[in-house]
Symmetry: C2
Subunit: 151 residues, 2 copies
DNA sequence: TATAATTCAATTGTACTCAATCGATTGGAC
DNA sequence: GTCCAATCGATTGAGTACAATTGAATTATA
């Protein structure tokens, strides 16, 4: 191997960890589409609803902390979910800066329709329970490893 | 645990594999930004250049197969890289449907400036070599497992 | 208590992602 | 040789992501 080839070896696509991470993430999200289309949600809207089903009446800030998303992404997304009738947005009485999100009846009812999605997706993922567990552990270590979001 | 709680248990965000995958992918791409800003590339442009540094004169189709991206993403991205002077786009002589991409001098030279990026990123990733290897293996199994892109 | 710093969501602008469609080109069947 | 299906890239439109800025509200400070 020449000197220049050795220098560029690290730049080969198959030597990157970021690339399969990026490609897998998009692939898995794609697999959700047919199931989420059926309940009128996108993937990002789905994980947002997931947080709300666990913890209703949450601020945009706390929602963003759970999902690692900022208001630039969440504001239009929450407006869209509001337009679909799944939630209401209102300012906090105690602190007018804070915008709270609360599920509507329809938003709460959607949980029933969504309940089968995880099992349906599991059927599309070709991974053993051990591999899934290992993947989960490593991803969370990476995610919470150095810091919350970056650096 | 009530019956309804059990039914909704699978919908909890921390029980999903997709979410840390999605969040990690975005987090890692974010880490690239300062290094890629310095060489005037976005993350997607960077992995595209990576393929071109390995295999110059490639069709949009083959590029898409390597990156799991379609022309809807690649066409504007390649036009942007062309506008920056890193590559040229031209139709194949043999088949006018095929658009080939070829690096310019500047595009080739950029490889030298990019050569340090992988090592710089590695310093930001809090993962042992064993974990990185395990993650890599599982991600590629997931990626190539059932099919190339979806279903 | 004025004012300065901070917090919060919204906005703006750039850049993807992807489904769906289109139009041109090509290769195959007859 | 002429339709016919397939292939390829471009386009369109909706929906994120995210850096950077703005403006209102709140808190801390002098």
């Amino acid at each position: 191997m020449s000197m220049s080839e050795a220098r560029y070896e690290g730049l080969r696509l198959e030597h990157q960890l970021c690339f399969p991470l990026y490609a897998c993430s998009r692939m898995v999200i794609k697999k959700y589409r047919p199931f989420l289309d059926a309940i009128n949600l996108t993937y990002t809207q789905y994980i947002t609803m997931m947080v709300l089903w666990e913890e209703d009446c949450i601020s945009v800030r706390d929602l963003g902390n759970r999902l690692f998303l900022d208001s630039g992404t969440l504001t239009p997304l929450l407006k869209s979910l509001e337009a679909k009738g799944f939630l209401r947005r209102y300012r906090s009485q105690e602190d007018e800066r804070v915008l709270l999100v609360q599920l509507t009846e329809e938003g709460l009812a959607l949980r029933e329709a969504a309940a089968d999605v995880p099992a349906q997706i599991a059927g599309c993922i070709a991974l053993s329970p051990e591999e899934a567990q290992a993947l989960y552990g490593i991803l969370y270590k990476l995610l919470l490893g150095s810091d919350t979001t970056d650096e």
